[in-house]
Amino acid sequence: MITAGIDMGAKFIKVLLLKDGEIMAKAQEMAGFEPVEAAEKAFSKALSESRLSKEDVNAIFATGAGRKAAPFAQDSITEVGAAARGVTHSHPSVRTIIEVGAEEGRAVKCNEQGKVEDFAINEKCAAGAGSFTEAMSRALEVPLDEFGRISLTSSKSIPMNAQCAVFAESEVVSLVHAKTPKADIARAVHDAIASRIVSMVRRVGINNDVALIGGVSYNPGFVDSLNRGLETTVIIPENAEYTGALGAAIVAAERNKND
């Protein structure tokens, strides 16, 4: 059985081909203004990488923010369900999945089969997402990929409230004026966002093993802060950005087993 998962993310479209539980190929394209075209392109790329044609694929499922517009897909599942299936496929010991993207943070509780038992999504007054990190790295004039790294060099814990992102930004400005070292501010920012995420995760419970996916998982400063807040070490799956597509492909296979 060969299935495909298409993750119609807001920024990137990711496609993954799965054969009998093994990943055959993956490809991604920037969504841009033409996400459907981008999806088609990514799909073609994945097909050629695995030397398959479209007819070889038994079923295609979509996920992601734009999943309803995915071309070729027979059905779709939400990011919550996709994350649970995708992560437990490669890491069956995971029971809690944290996904932090640019705009949204999610926490999912699942069982060993990847079935979602509970989930939480950030509420208005506790949002902690990647776009805040980006904005702060710009404010401190530090490239985003360095921002995480320099925060690891700090050993100081400066409490930042960050309940409201606007207030938090003011606090950063105050710290800059007080000539606080950039590394310490960077760590404070990561600690604050991680704290918001940990708060949300507590709603579903922190059950080991805990996995982290989403764009912010590439930020070592944030990961460090998160580990400290959770009092555990999160697993970051390889090719974490394809977790959604993988989950969709797995569900596609399951739903078509009887056909």
Binding site: A65, D75, I77, T78, E79, V80, G81, K115, V116, E117, D118, F119, A120, I121, E123, K124, R203
Partner: protein, 433 residues
């Protein structure tokens, strides 16, 4: 292929007419020398009824909800309120109401009708303050009854008397304020009507235990509203009996609210009034909300029966009790209202969790959806503990954030996505037919 047959409610039009008549009566009250008072839906409205048969009221919460339906007008009201310096996180019903007052625009056409007095109950932080401001703005006399005397299961004579004494005081105050002589027979009639209408509403909610459910929650909102407007009026009590008979008929004949009922849910807190389409969205999955503690217990009065089941509270009349004097009427009225299910969580969220779990069991539900309502701190009080308590039992539960009266705080796409995720966890797929 639909599994069950369905048909619209026969008394639907009557429900609509009754509601519109209520607002019209209020607006035109002065034309025939009648009295107008404004207050909350929980203000013990049987009391002013003793002033005469030409006493009309508008209750702020349904009025605030009516404004919320009209998104354009609601935004005008919100902005007018904010222009006066009021915070955006205050009760959204109150902000809609105040806006209508500031703009001098009645939601049902014409100008905001001046009340003769304000009469309110106090249980959440904003209740008494709401009409304090209306009274100072409109220079109207104001009386408020403090009903926050603890949970019903701990009621003692001292607590009951605190409420009853205030009601006695309210009557004397109303006589002075209106110059009218109070008529105890009218009070007694009103109390009996209230017991009848609120108990009958609970009966109607109980009929929704049937599978398929004869009513869906969105429909129920248009029906419980009469209890929030004038539960002390004979026409409301009579209407509920008529409605109950029709719903009984639906149950006996397997007439469903949702022909494809696959999954039974309950919600909690007021719905986002500007986005009731959320309920229609659920139906795409074959999911129906059969009600909530809010819909059941806002005006419904309940009791635990000897067999442990939850059911309509037995009225004094059903017990053969005859009300003969003012004090007795007020005691019964106070006790009756203090047992209201929606008043218990103000003191302990566990009391609400217990009732919610009872509903899950008795109405045979598959899941619970909590509306984290930023527009009402009263009904959202303790809601996260309710969530924990329900999740502990393994009952699937989800939350979505919103606002009952301020549509700027409701993110439609986000909520629909969460519902999709929740439906997935329940193993439901959207029906393509």
């Amino acid at each position: 292929m639909a599994e069950y047959k369905t048909e619209p409610l026969k008394c639907w039009n009557k429900a609509k007419e009754l509601r519109l008549k209520y607002y019209k009566d209020y607006q035109e009250a002065h034309k025939k020398g009648g009295i107008r008072w404004t207050g909350g839906a929980w203000a013990l409205d049987a009391v002013p009824a003793g002033l005469g048969r030409d006493v009309y009221n508008i209750t702020g919460e349904p009025y605030g909800a009516s404004i919320a339906f009209d998104k354009k007008f609601s935004l005008e009201c919100m902005e007018a309120t904010e222009a006066k310096g009021w915070a955006r996180d205050l009760c959204s019903y109150m902000r809609n109401y105040w806006g209508s007052m500031y703009l001098n625009k009645f939601a049902f056409g014409g100008e905001y009708p001046e009340p003769d007095f304000c009469y309110q109950d106090h249980i959440c932080c904003s209740h008494a303050k709401w009409y304090q401001h209306v009274a100072e703005y409109k220079k109207t006399p104001y009386f408020c009854v403090d009903v926050s005397v603890g949970p019903y299961n701990e009621l003692d004579e001292n607590r009951l008397m605190f409420v009853v004494n205030q009601l006695h005081e309210a009557i004397e105050w109303m006589e002075k304020t209106t110059g009218r002589k109070y008529q105890d027979e009218l009070l007694i009639e009103a109390v009996e009507n209230e017991c009848r209408s609120t108990s009958t509403w609970a009966e109607i909610c109980c009929l929704n235990m049937a599978k398929p459910a004869p009513l869906d929650e969105k429909t129920m909102y248009s029906l419980y509203v009469h209890g929030t407007l004038a539960k002390h009026k004979k026409e409301v009590a009579d209407f509920y009996e008529e409605l109950r008979d029709e719903v009984k008929y639906r149950v006996e004949n397997n007439i469903a609210a949702l022909p494809n009922e696959k999954c039974r849910l309950m919600s909690d807190t007021q719905p986002p009034w500007g986005f009731l389409k959320v309920f229609r969205y659920l139906e795409k999955y074959g999911a129906i909300s059969i009600g909530s503690l809010y819909t059941f217990g806002l005006i419904g009065i309940w009791e635990t029966k000897p067999d442990g089941a939850w059911g309509p509270r037995t009225t004094p009349m059903q017990k053969g009790e005859k009300i003969t004097n003012r004090d007795q009427a007020l005691r019964i009225l106070a006790d009756w209202n203090l047992s209201k299910p929606e008043w218990q969580h103000f003191y302990d969220p566990d009391l609400k969790t217990e009732m919610m779990l009872q509903i899950v069991k008795q109405w045979k539900l598959d899941g619970v959806m909590l509306h984290l309502n930023r527009g009402c701190e009263g009904l959202t009080c303790g809601i996260m503990e309710n969530r924990l308590g329900i999740a502990k039992t393994g009952t699937p539960i989800m939350t979505f954030e919103g606002n009952m009266g301020d549509e700027r705080e409701f993110d439609e796409k986000q909520v629909m996505t969460r519902i999709d995720s929740f439906m997935e966890t329940l193993g439901l797929q959207m029906m393509t037919v």
